[in-house]
Structure formats: C-alpha cells, structure tokens
C-alpha cells in the first residue's frame, strides 16, 4: 500500500518536470509552404534570368571586358544553384532514394555555388573600382589582360571548391532516428517507417564539434562578410568618385551602386547573422521554444537569400545598356528567323538584304566601347 502510493506520487510529480525532444512540426509546416509556393518561383525566375544572361553572352556579346567574365560566371553559379535546389527538395521528400552520391554531390554543389556566387560579386565590385576610381592607372591593365579575370574566376571557383570539401566529405545519406535503441520488450517497440536523411555524419564527437563550428563559420566569414567588406570599400570609393565627376549620368550610376549594395545586404545579412548566432549557441542547452524560433528564422531568412539568385541578372546584367542592346538583338533575330521561315520561298533579293543587315550589326558591335556599367 505504501509502495503503491509512493510510486504514484513519483509518477505524477516526475512527469511535470520531464524534458522531451523538441517538436519540429511548425518548422516542417513552414518549410512545406516555402517549398510549395516560394522556392518554385525563385527557381523558375532564376533559371530564366540566368539562362538569358548566359545565352546572350554565348551567342552575341562575347566576353570583351573583365566585368563580362565575372558576370558570366555569376550567372553560371546562380543557374547551377537554381537547378540543384529543386533536386535537393525532391530528394528530401523521397528519403534520398538516388543514393549517397547524389547526397554528396547536390549538397556540395549547393555549397560551391554559395561561395563562388558571393565572391564573384565581390570581384565585380573590385573591377568597377579599378575602372572608375583608378581609371588612368588601370586602363592598360584592364584592356590588355582579359586573361587576368579568367585567372581570378578560376581562383574563386577553386577556393569555393576547397571550402566545400567538408560538405562533400561529411554529408551522407543515412537512416534517420536515434542510435542504439534498447527496449525491455520488443513488442513494445513502435514500428516506425525507416526514413533516410542527407546530413552531416561524423566518426567522433571531437570531429563533430570542430566541423559543426568551422563549416558555418567559414560560410559566414568567407561567404558573406569578406564579400561585404570588399563591396563596401569598392563601391564606397566608386560613389565618392562619381559624385566628384561632372558626368550628367552620375546620379543614376550612384543609384545603381546603392541598389546593388542594398539588395545584397537585405538578402544575405539576415540569414548570415542568424546562422552566426545559431553556431555560437550550437552546443549549449536551450529551451525548445528558443530552438524553434531560431530554426524558423533561419528557414525564412534562407529563402530570402535564395531570392538573390534571380535578382542578380536584373541588378548586374540587364541594367547595362550594352547588354540590353544585345538582348534586343536576340529577340530581333528570333523574330527574323520566324519571318524567314514563313517566307522561305521569297526571292534572293531578300536574302541579300538580310546579309547586309547582319553585316551592319557586326560593324555596330565592333564599335562599342562602353562597359556593362554604362546605362
């Protein structure tokens, strides 16, 4: 009798203070909403915008300046990102059925493009700094060594690959759930469906602590703050120089520069600050409500960062007069091809006129001397 009372007392008293694993339900709902409505729009817009940039460069513009090389590489990085993202989403919904290699590859590509995309934006600001602030000094350098920008791009991609090695190495597809479960009676075990995740998996606690700290820290440091510092310095100098110039276009140029920097900060700073905060508190005990708030904020700000991939074509490529001229030429040529197909039986006089028109376009292209920054 006494034992029964004591046990009941322990039972009731104990459960009031029980701490259980955190629920992930609300984050799950938010992620499903974003994946259903927001991410598809970002991926489609990003794919279309960056495809147009790449096609325009490949077919018409060629890369005549250092900035063109950087812009083309940014478009490539962004399009790889918007292709990898839906594949990651699909794989997560289907227990990564494509296997361990797709897990490593997709997560790795995601990481490489994050770094390369951000660092290339910093390179563009550096190039504009050289072109505008150090105009006389850099003229010979910029006009004679297109190779220089190719080398810089290669270095950026290589650095991005090196920084992404931990992701390629440690991300694995493995069975979800806790390890080493033991129950008194097997028939009491809940038969849960086996699911697979693609996530970090380490051999030891020491490696786990080190990598879980180093990887997000380097992402914040090299993937955001370094580009931010470079862009901040370069574009500040550009603005100062433009404001001193007598060019009637200077205010428009200043507005473009401010827009570029503002969009960069608005899209990427929230996520990187939350990631930094999350990393600092990673191994500390926390209330579930706190953990949940941080996770929700990370999910939202991460989607905001994704948005930059489909804004880049507008901010950098289509804002330039030269690029828009070439893009209009693409549309015109497509239209002409259509008309040509419909009028295939017309006389050779039309063919001759088309040839002359093409030649005039080529002459016009050769005479261009503006940069992508000319508006």
């Amino acid at each position: 009798m006494i034992n029964d009372s004591s046990e009941n007392y322990n039972y009731g008293d104990y459960y009031e203070g029980a701490v259980e694993p955190c629920s992930v339900e609300s984050r799950q709902k938010l992620e499903n909403f974003l994946r259903l409505f927001i991410h598809p729009i970002i991926c489609v817009a990003g794919f279309i915008g960056n495809s147009l940039v790449i096609v325009t460069y490949a077919l018409y513009k060629r890369t005549k300046s250092m900035t063109d090389v950087y812009l083309l590489n940014v478009a490539i990085a962004d399009i790889l990102f918007v292709v990898a993202l839906p594949l990651i989403i699909y794989s997560e919904q289907h227990s990564w059925a494509m296997g361990n290699m797709s897990c490593k590859l997709l997560r790795g590509i995601y990481s490489v493009n994050l770094y390369s995309g951000m660092l290339l934006l910093a390179c563009i600001s550096g190039d504009r700094y050289l072109a505008i602030v150090q105009a006389r000094r850099s003229f010979r350098l910029r006009s004679s060594t297109l190779l220089y920008s190719h080398l810089v791009c290669a270095a950026v991609w290589l650095l991005a690959l090196l920084l992404s090695l931990p992701t390629f190495i440690f991300y694995e597809r493995y069975e979800n759930g806790l390890t080493e479960s033991t129950f008194l009676f097997n028939n009491n075990t809940i038969m849960e469906e086996i699911q697979y995740v693609c996530s970090f998996k380490f051999e030891s606690n020491e490696t786990a602590r080190m990598m879980k700290t180093i990887v997000p820290s380097s992402q914040v440091a090299v993937g955001f703050f370094l580009p931010l510092l470079i862009m901040g310095f370069c574009y500040s100098s550009v603005i100062v120089t433009l404001l001193r110039a007598k060019n009637f276009q200077r205010h428009k140029a200043v507005r473009v520069v401010l827009t570029v920097v503002l969009v960069f900060v608005v899209c990427h700073m929230p996520y990187n600050l939350v990631l930094l905060y999350h990393t600092i508190n990673l191994f500390e005990q926390q209330e579930c409500s706190h953990e949940e708030a941080v996770a929700l904020t990370m999910t939202i700000t991460e989607s905001l960062a994704y948005l930059h991939s489909c804004l880049n074509p507008l901010l950098y490529a289509f804002i330039g007069v030269n690029f828009r001229n070439h893009f209009r030429k693409i549309l015109r040529d497509i239209w002409c091809l259509g008309k040509n197909y419909m009028s295939a039986r017309r006389s050779s006089r039309v063919t001759t006129e088309m040839y002359l028109s093409t030649r005039r376009s080529m002459d016009y292209s050769n005479n261009e001397n503006g940069t992508s920054f000319t508006m």
Partner: protein, 99 residues
C-alpha cells in the same frame, strides 16, 4: 517568351506541389531533465549523439507513460539506469531462450 515562361512556371509549381510530402524530420533533445527517473518507469532507452543532426549528446529514456525523457549522459544515475536496463534485457532474453 512570356507565354513560355508562364507555362514553365506553372508546370514547375505543379510538379513541386505533387512532390511535397513531409520530409523526414529529426526530433532532438536540446535540454536535460534535472531530476532522476525511477527505474520502475523505464521501458527502454535511445542514444542521441552530436555526430549526427542533433547538437547535444543525450540519453532518451522511454517510459511506460509514453514519454521520451531527455537526460544527461554525464550523470552517474543515467549510466547506472542503462546498465540495469541492459541486465534486465539480458535476463529476459535468457529466459526466452530457455523456453
């Protein structure tokens, strides 16, 4: 061009919508229970480690009341409870093998 874009967008949205189901989610302990759990309430345990998606090491005791209790593996009573539980499991297995 805008018509093609619209079609691509709609198709992609539909495709992703069809694919959208609940992804595998990991519930992790983020904090430890302070008190001890009576041995009589425990029916099983699981190990949570930082080598995977969770960020603190923990022992999760599964209780008769359906609760999953997060406990600190550095506490002596926790490892003692695991040891006793393993002994019980071995005894039960031994009994079953005899039958």
């Amino acid at each position: 061009m805008s018509r093609i874009s619209a079609c691509v967008m709609v198709l992609t949205i539909v495709a992703l919508g069809l694919l959208c189901t609940d992804a595998a989610a990991v519930s992790c302990c983020r904090k430890y229970t302070k008190g001890m759990i009576p041995m009589s309430l425990i029916k099983g345990y699981s190990i949570q480690t930082i080598t995977r998606s969770c960020h603190i090491n923990a022992v999760i005791f599964h209780t008769n009341g359906g609760k999953n209790i997060c406990t600190d593996p550095s506490k002596g009573w926790v490892m003692e409870s695991i040891r006793k539980l393993r002994e019980k499991v071995q005894a039960i297995n031994k009994k079953n093998s005899k039958a």
